[in-house]
């Protein structure tokens, strides 16, 4: 693959450097940007994110990037909160704002709710297994049962958009996709060889 233009959206959240390094480890050039023009012209777009949906959506709105992201037609990969932002709305509005729904980007018509972990400890933090639903190319070369790294307290339910599931108390979407938008609830950039392969598959789409 020669010199494609990979852009990480600068959402103003913390963990951008670890996502950046993960792409660089695969030998690809990557730009971090919040410029609508740079993002629109990318071959591949990565939407990272750590923090609350409310805070991140406010950053994206303040930077004037909502329509930019919504109109992307190239492959877009969301990591963790980046996946959640792709959904219609999220219940994760930060401390002291319970019961408030946060409108998200509406790219995948599903919602984000607090995990019903059936008495297990939250956040769901650590390595857990993927079970694939269908045969999405982002998981090429990986078999169900592979471990990836999760850190989250909110999740998307199982739906027609689920391409991988995981179970913690109850089953939830470990990854979702619709058209060119793909989101992983886990952190591929922190998921060792499996995560690296997922990013590589995305870059080769």
């Amino acid at each position: 693959m020669t010199q494609q233009n990979i852009v990480i959206v600068d959402t103003g959240c913390a963990n951008i450097s670890s996502v950046l390094y993960a792409v660089e480890r695969l030998g690809d050039q990557v730009t971090v940007s919040d410029s609508p023009q740079v993002i629109s012209q990318a071959d591949k777009v990565i939407l990272p994110g750590v923090g609350s949906a409310k805070h991140a959506m406010k950053n994206i709105e303040d930077k004037g990037l909502v329509e930019t992201i919504q109109s992307l037609t190239q492959p877009v990969l969301g990591f963790c909160l980046g996946m959640q932002l792709m959904c219609a709305e999220s219940a994760e509005s930060g401390f002291n704002n319970e019961n408030e729904q946060v409108a998200c980007l509406g790219l995948v018509p599903t919602t984000i709710n607090v995990m019903k972990a059936d008495g297990l400890r939250l956040p769901h933090m650590g390595w857990n297994t993927l079970t694939f639903e269908g045969n999405h190319p982002i998981f090429k070369g990986i078999e169900s049962g592979a471990y990836v790294y999760f850190v989250h307290s909110y999740c998307a339910p199982i739906s027609q958009y689920t391409i991988a599931s995981c179970t913690y108390g109850q089953p939830f979407s470990a990854a979702i996709a619709k058209d060119n938008f793909i989101g992983c609830q886990f952190h591929p950039e922190r998921s060792s060889d499996i995560g690296s392969l997922i990013i590589k598959n995305f870059l080769e789409m």
Binding site: S18, R25, G126, Y147, R190
Partner: protein, 262 residues
Amino acid sequence: MLAKRIIPCLDVQNGKVVKGVKFRNHEIIGDIVPLAQRYAEEGADELVFYDITASSDQRVVDKSWVSKIAQVIDIPFCVAGGIKTAQDAQQILNMGADKISINSPALLDPDLISRLADQFGQQCIVVGIDSYFDKDTDQYQVYQFTGDEKRTQKTQWQTFDWIQEVQKRGAGEIVLNCMNQDGVRQGYDLEQLTQARAITSVPLIASGGAGTIEHFTQVFKQSDVDGALAASVFHKKVIEINTLKSTLIKQGVAIRPQGILC
């Protein structure tokens, strides 16, 4: 199923990995980055880097190595040592650390835990607790400034009270270091950890005392901790991480196997 975590801890002093016995007499083990890389490749689930001199020297952890580690390793890692403010935490998280861990600064200013959890999210705020069993009083006591033996001192806190306090204040994970066991490889303090587990609703990581594979089996099966941290047995290759993990899997502990398609 959520896997139990194997966590090598790298104590850092002046940019080198060191290890002492019972927190004393530190010897240099090697350079940080190659050792971190080796552990990630061998199947470590997470790494902790602990600047053991930071809090006691009134300075923040030397940070240049944090981004170097973030560049080369692809598993989560936590940085501890001298993080006293939200700015300190922000800088380390921006450099690519997944979590930050606070210990003595939390004892001096317990509200720091809440401020950090509010700003960065509970999941990346770890509280480290150095606990010493005092035979005279028959109590587990919290100690601070354990990186420097001249300044190490007992605090007003009993361990189980402090565990409950830090959770109320927003700790996302607790590392309980049992000082009586540290570095002597006689096994984790199962009694203390089991009691701690019963009152801990966030992930609990056992630290101090690992010497054999059986010690890891015991701490996962008997104390139900989420992760087990160890240093010298990994540095000195007394235990190989992949052998440890395959043995634990055979014994029925939920563990992420080493190797891509196991």
